[in-house]
Symmetry: C7
Subunit: 94 residues, 7 copies
């Protein structure tokens, strides 16, 4: 990916929402829960703090992550939807 | 558990709410008070402060903890419900 | 007490509200003013500041303290009610 | 006084509101303006800052001070009413 | 003046509002705009910052200053009205 | 100008709003857009930070600047209207 | 461009919104989505932090950037519309 997030931001490719419920019923698009799981596809260089210290990101490209339901801003690159958010919006690496 | 919380976050397995009152009456599901007690199942590496200092967590996996009623975000891993929250949301180790 | 508060938190055993008014009249339960006085029964190890400095608590177990009417969170241990709050919620040592 | 305020708090004994107007008319209790002047009767040891620096109080017991109308919390000690507030709530020494 | 403001506070004697308009018409009391100009009559010793640094005031007694319409708290000393405010509420020295 | 702004404040002389539209029609006073461009006529000595560091202003008297529509406080000096604002309210030097 | 943004601000020339939909239909002006992509045309010298440290900008003139829909303030220079915003409003370099 040729997009470089600034500072402490990362770009996440959300995992596709499962289109079947456990009982195997196909659910229509509007009923699908927005995914909270995704893959890191780009990482910023880190945030320069008030002290002039560069705080490096802990995440790496390829990490599978969990994030909040309403985290980030949607961007579209080459017809693909991504989320750009701050590293602090990421809860955990799976 | 193969989930690694980021920064100063921890993952808590909430204790099962007791299904009997003291007098031995079984209470229906909706009347059960949401548990505020649980076990730490994963701990982040700590938060890098503005000064570039890594502030290590005080909690360890296995700690029995008390936390606020509305603390954390629910996540589901292998069909099991957990709460992911910041260490500062934990009140005490029991 | 085998509960260890985290960081800059303390556990307070609220003093029993006096059940008699000065003139000796016994007042019913709902009219009793919620106590603002109590005894420290557990103290955390202190808060690690942004600079990585451990700021130790000034309070000790056994201190009789005054605190705000709405301070803290109620917890129940062995059938006994306590309040867990931050040291900064404590006004004074009596 | 055997009460020790914590951190940057002070205890103030409010000055009695004057019960006569300038023209000598005695005013009933509800019309008296709440006093904004008082005497410092106890001073905390100071606040430990984020840097671990103890910032000592500038006020001393016996100082006559001016403070905001709604500053502090009322406490009663031996039947006497006092106000407990942060030093920053004190405007000036008279 | 024998009042000493605390920390970064100053006491201002507001300039008397001009009682005549430019065209020489005397305006009644309620129409007079509250003055935003005054003279510094007392200055605190400065604010001790989180780092334990004493930040000295830039203002001196006698400075003619401009300040915001709603800045400060009114105090009355010997029948005279003053405003007590933080130095940061002062816009400029005239 | 004999007004000295305090700390990180500057005084701006707003540029006169153009009284003609491009097509040459004279517009009445109420329709004129409030100017967002002006000239710096006075600069403070800078702000003393929490660390006791004097952060000097980047602007100089004579700079033509752009600022937000609602920035600053209006002051009148010798019948002339000025705006006094913080340097951080200035967007750019033209 | 002869405009110099102050501190940590940048000036962005928004990319022209595409006037055709994918199917080739020309859409009227009001239906065009406000662009979130643009080119950096001017960069400030950086922000002086509380510690007196100059935090230099990471962006350069010519960078193609993504920014939030409601970021920045519109300014008009020589009949051309630009956005002036803080560097922290920029999400990523494309």
């Amino acid at each position: 990916m040729n997009i470089k997030p600034l500072a402490d931001r990362v770009i996440v490719a959300p995992a596709a929402a499962e289109e079947k419920t456990k009982s195997g019923i196909i659910i229509p698009d509007t009923a699908k829960e927005k995914p909270q799981r995704g893959e890191i596809v780009a990482v910023g260089e880190g945030k320069v703090s008030e002290q002039g210290v560069l705080v490096k990101p802990q995440l790496q490209v390829g990490d599978q992550v969990l994030y909040g339901k309403y985290a980030g801003t949607e961007i579209t690159v080459d017809g693909q939807d991504y989320l750009i958010m701050r590293e602090s919006d990421i809860f955990a690496v799976v």
